[in-house]
């Protein structure tokens, strides 16, 4: 167990140092911070506004970092060396996910301060945000497995970014086109709905269904990651 932690941390530190020097990635992740600072100054204080920035952070930080970390290992032929080392696949993935997780939490926290976001019930909001982070890290892993280079990952993240950041605007058209009601079950809309309910003074009993949907999305995506991983490894 001790060795497992040591190897996971070795991969985490290596990826951290590597990412800090990677201008591609480090400039992308400040994007939500700029957005948050802008919103904070112009006085946006609606739940939709806060969660637009949060959802953006998820796609740009959690999903993108994870995807580019995995894609780069494949692109630079370093993944094979890692796979042949004593580190197991679980340890490799844990090391990488840890970095995406920590960066996401930091960026979320700073943007919340920038926007002067004060949730009515921090415990629920934090739980929901953490579950969402896991969802987006799983999404990023999936993208990383499918793409072959950082370039490809950067392109593949764009539709994800647009879809998950701006899908909440679909609610405007929902009365007109009832088919869009399905979108309400998307994890990002669930998060916004949960945020709104908490702001309206709702407690845990009012939002458990939202949390449950978020957890099921995360679980489903994790299964997809495992299936995709096995498929890719057999292909090689």
């Amino acid at each position: 167990m001790n060795y497992t932690i040591r190897r996971t941390m070795a991969i985490f530190q290596k990826d951290y140092k590597d990412m800090m020097k990677n201008l591609y990635v480090s400039t992308t992740i400040v994007l939500p911070l700029i957005m948050a600072a802008f919103y904070g100054r112009t006085g946006v204080d609606t739940v939709d506004g806060y969660f637009l920035v949060f959802n953006m952070t998820f796609s740009v930080v959690a999903a993108y970092i994870q995807a580019s970390l995995i894609a780069e290992e494949k692109e630079k032929n370093t993944l094979r060396g890692l796979m042949l080392s004593p580190a197991s696949t679980g340890e490799i993935m844990a090391g990488k996910s840890l970095l995406s997780f920590v960066s996401t939490v930091i960026i979320l926290f700073i943007s919340a301060i920038f926007m002067r976001f004060q949730p009515a019930d921090p415990a629920i909001i934090v739980t929901a945000l953490v579950i969402s982070t896991f969802f987006y890290i799983a999404l990023g892993t999936l993208l990383g497995l499918v793409t072959r280079s950082v370039m490809e990952a950067s392109v593949a993240i764009l539709p994800v970014l647009l879809f998950f950041s701006f899908a909440p605007f679909a609610t405007v058209f929902m009365d007109e086109y009832p088919i869009l009601k399905i979108a309400e079950y998307l994890p990002n809309l669930q998060l916004v709905e949960l945020g709104a309910a908490v702001e309206a003074g709702g407690g845990f009993e009012d939002v458990w269904s939202n949390l449950l949907i978020l957890i099921s999305w995360t679980a489903a995506l994790l299964v997809a990651v495992v299936v995709m991983y096995q498929k890719k490894m057999i292909d090689k």
Binding site: Y3, Q13, K14, D18, K76, G81, S85, P86
Partner: protein, 343 residues
């Protein structure tokens, strides 16, 4: 100990290599000289990325398999196209290897071994190709494996790196690891070991490597004779377009004369030769060639079958892919029988 027993590989209809056996004890070094295709296939088998067609590969009694972590802890691979984390500094990179393998060696010790001490603060991307190769080799030093498998370790590297690598390989064998070098370059195979094999579709063959020192003493002995005798030229020149191609006599299957032009047949290819058949016969008799017909000279080593059609007509069937048949005249048949000791 690395043990390859009865391993064979066929891809579709083609034999990549037939059943081969190789055993390397701890502290031994061997090199396998082969084509790129064969080398890639063998590496895939050794690193368990492709399943075996038959036989087994064992390192210290651990069977190769993608899920067998013990096998991979004891085996270290250096692939030709292995990559590095280009943005890390050399020191950071080595520190990563050290933690990953939980090694006892310090980063400083390894830095001294690969002689990159003065460059330790540089980024990996600033290194030359040869220096990167040395850094890649550092991974093996941290791992301390039982078996080391190197793919083209010194391809395209500079003299400095070659020296460092060959010293490190010797250090590994002194530490009781066995080293297997897979290469397409005979020179780099001979640089690390005298135990060289050739692997191709006909199997694994040990090459006889004579010690240079022995040759030197022999040379001294023969010096006087050599001064008198001119060096004997033993290649057969052929001409293709503007190029002159030289063949070793044993490579030649047979020579045929047609319309006054002698054609040398090598592995199904025809090369026109500027000598007459009579000249060639004089030159080639010492190499076991035989004038079997007015217009044919055959390499007797390559003859598989003698077919008697009628009392007066015979053919020789050669042992090569095309199974060419060559006429054998009646008078020559008696001569051949005498040579074979049949009469």
């Amino acid at each position: 100990m690395l043990k390859i027993s009865n391993v064979e590989k066929n891809i579709q209809h083609a034999v990549v290599f037939p059943s081969i056996n190789l055993e390397l004890k701890l502290g031994e070094t061997a090199a396998i000289h082969s084509s790129t295709n064969v080398r890639t296939v063998l590496l895939e088998l050794l690193s368990a990325s492709k399943p075996l067609s038959g036989g087994s590969i064992m390192i210290n009694n651990e069977q190769v398999s993608a899920s067998n972590k013990v096998y991979f802890n004891q085996a270290a691979f250096l692939f030709l196209n292995d990559g590095l984390y280009e943005r890390l500094t050399i020191k950071e990179h080595l520190a990563f290897y050290q933690k990953l393998y939980g090694a006892n060696e310090t980063v400083e010790e390894i830095l001294n071994l690969i002689q990159l001490n003065e460059k330790k603060r540089l980024r990996v991307s600033a290194l030359t190709f040869s220096e990167k190769k040395r850094l890649l080799f550092a991974r093996i030093l941290f791992q301390k494996p039982k078996a080391v498998i190197l793919e083209e370790p010194d391809q395209n590297v500079d003299l400095e790196a070659k020296k460092i690598l060959s010293r490190l390989i010797r250090m590994l064998t002194d530490d009781n690891s066995c080293v297997l070098v897979l290469t397409g370059n005979m020179e780099s195979a001979l640089m690390v070991t005298k135990r060289v094999y050739r692997l191709d579709e006909s199997g694994l063959h040990a090459l006889e490597v004579t010690e240079e020192k022995e040759e030197e003493t022999l040379k001294e002995q023969n010096e006087e004779i050599q001064q008198v005798q001119p060096v004997k030229f033993e290649k057969i020149p052929t001409k293709v377009n503007d190029k002159i191609i030289l063949f070793n006599p044993p490579e030649i299957d047979y020579i045929e004369s047609s319309e006054g032009q002698s054609n040398v047949h090598v592995k199904g290819q025809i090369y026109p030769c500027m000598f007459t058949l009579n000249d060639l016969e004089q030159r080639l008799i010492p190499f076991g060639f035989f004038r079997c017909h007015r217009s044919y000279i055959v390499n007797l080593q390559k003859v598989r079958e003698v077919i008697t059609w009628t009392r007066n007509s015979y053919s020789l069937i050669l042992d090569e892919a095309g199974k060419s048949s060559i006429p054998l005249s009646k008078t020559k048949m008696t001569e051949l029988k005498e040579m074979l000791g049949l009469k």
